[in-house]
């Protein structure tokens, strides 16, 4: 069955696949950046003493965490052009969907990270007269970030894998480009196994380095 495995098809497709991979990387990078930023705000709101704020952040997180990512993608693919008032192209709709979706997960990771800092540290900060924001900035967040960095990075790997779901709206990412070649050349086995191997090697090497980092980095 592998005797007629046609490597040439894969080799010829490399430039086209790389184009798709660039979109995958770009989307992952932008969604991580946006998701982290929004996630920090959400986490701080969730831990806030202002009831309305913590309730709103909590509802946001529960809302997004009980929806499938595909449905979220469809939602924003439909909503974003509506809100903007003109067609904006699939990429921006999907980017909004991924950013808002990931923010909910990042929020939970960061909340757990912040809560893992011992209360005595906060009290000590208060005792030497730090304000709330100084306490957060100099005492809590630096420790929290060390606790949560490995988990945040693992979530980034998951996001990298999840970006393949842009398939449902037909954006030309790595997987979709591979599928285009596969159908055109009628070489499904070659292309899909290449995709699987590439994703596997990338994700596994990243996961392994996270584990190494975790050993060095943990408090």
């Amino acid at each position: 069955m592998f005797s007629d495995f046609d490597f040439d098809v894969v080799i010829n497709a490399i430039p086209f696949l790389w184009e798709g991979m660039q979109l995958t990387f770009l989307l992952t990078f932008l969604a991580i950046t946006g998701g982290l930023f929004l996630g920090v705000l959400l986490a701080l709101s969730r831990l806030s003493h202002i009831k309305v704020l913590s309730f709103a952040a909590g509802s946001y997180v529960n809302f997004f965490r009980s929806m499938p990512l595909i449905l979220v993608i469809f939602w924003f693919y439909f909503l974003v052009p509506f809100i903007v008032g003109r067609p904006v192209g699939g990429f921006y709709s999907v980017l909004v969907a991924f950013t808002l979706f990931e923010a909910a997960y990042y929020c939970e990771i960061m909340r757990a990270g912040i809560q893992s800092v011992r209360i005595s540290q906060v009290q000590a900060g208060q005792a030497i007269g730090l304000s709330y924001s100084q306490n957060m900035r100099y005492i809590v967040l630096p420790q929290a970030f060390r606790n949560m960095t490995p988990i945040l990075l693992t979530q980034a790997v998951i996001l990298f894998q999840d970006t393949s779901l842009v398939y449902v709206v037909g954006l030309h990412d790595f997987l979709v480009n591979a599928e285009i070649v596969a159908t055109r050349e009628n070489r499904l086995i070659e292309l899909f196994s290449t995709v699987a191997v590439v994703y596997f090697v990338l994700c596994l090497s990243f996961s392994l380095s996270i584990r190494k980092l975790q050993k060095r980095f943990s408090i």
């Binding site: 449905l71 008032g85 894998q161 994700c203």
Partner: protein, 240 residues
């Protein structure tokens, strides 16, 4: 924003029927896949806690492979590639012989994928039990199988109920990926309603509410189960 609101579309034929049947398929895929995930995941998880190096590395390899390939790619591998790798007669049977090939492909794909995650929970649950319990069990003369059957598994399954609930909800949400190979589950049906009627807002709201409702029901039910099954004097041990 000019949008023609028409919530009535959700209860008119055939769209109402589409939503109900979509929900039915979503639940069916999730339930069947969970059976595979739970059984296979438990076996793999247990293998990773044994003393046998071969069993341990098979378990570890399984988890790495299934966790490091995107679920959607796995779906395509099962649907397009797997039948080609089988002997020809079997391949044809998988593609055309069995009833509902897309449904069963989605079930197997989601089941084997989630099994890798369940395995990690089972392993964490077993490893969290203090060594003294295992030693005590061996000291009273139980065979390794009996140690697992009577001591390690009953304790670990009771402690990993919360993370297992999340895994089940994960399978429930991930069942939406079945639409990529043509299973008309809930998300696919509402997307179809959007395309037929342009009432996307109403259709996706219906799907969202149904997903949230099922999630809420499962979480409420499992909170009760968790309370009933809690081991006195212990706080939950499962891994995140």
């Amino acid at each position: 924003m000019n949008y023609n609101w028409d919530w009535g579309v959700l209860v008119t034929a055939p769209y109402f029927g589409w939503i109900i049947s979509g929900l039915g398929w979503t639940l069916a895929v999730a339930a069947c896949a969970w059976l595979i995930a739970f059984t296979l995941g438990s076996i793999i998880g247990i293998m990773r806690t044994t003393d046998n190096p071969v069993a341990r590395s098979i378990g570890a390899g399984y988890v790495e492979v299934f966790r490091n390939i995107p679920l959607l790619v796995q779906m395509f591998l099962w649907y397009f590639i797997f039948p080609e790798l089988l002997p020809e007669a079997w391949g044809t049977w998988v593609k055309r012989g069995i009833p509902l090939p897309e449904f069963w492909t989605a079930v197997v794909c989601l089941g084997t994928y989630t099994a890798s995650r369940v395995a990690e929970q089972v392993r964490a649950g077993i490893n969290a039990i203090s060594l003294g319990q295992k030693q005590a069990a061996m000291a009273i003369g139980l065979a390794p199988m009996q140690v697992y059957r009577y001591i390690l598994l009953p304790v670990s399954y009771r402690t990993i109920i919360p993370p297992m609930t999340s895994e089940f909800l994960g399978i429930f949400k991930n069942s939406s990926l079945a639409l990529t190979i043509g299973v008309l589950e809930l998300t696919a049906q509402t997307r179809q309603i959007e395309e037929y009627t342009f009432q996307g807002f109403e259709a996706f709201t219906a799907a969202t509410i149904l997903y949230i409702t099922v999630t809420f029901i499962v979480m409420t039910a499992m909170a009760v189960v968790e309370k009933k099954m809690a081991i006195p004097g212990m706080i939950s041990l499962g891994a995140k």
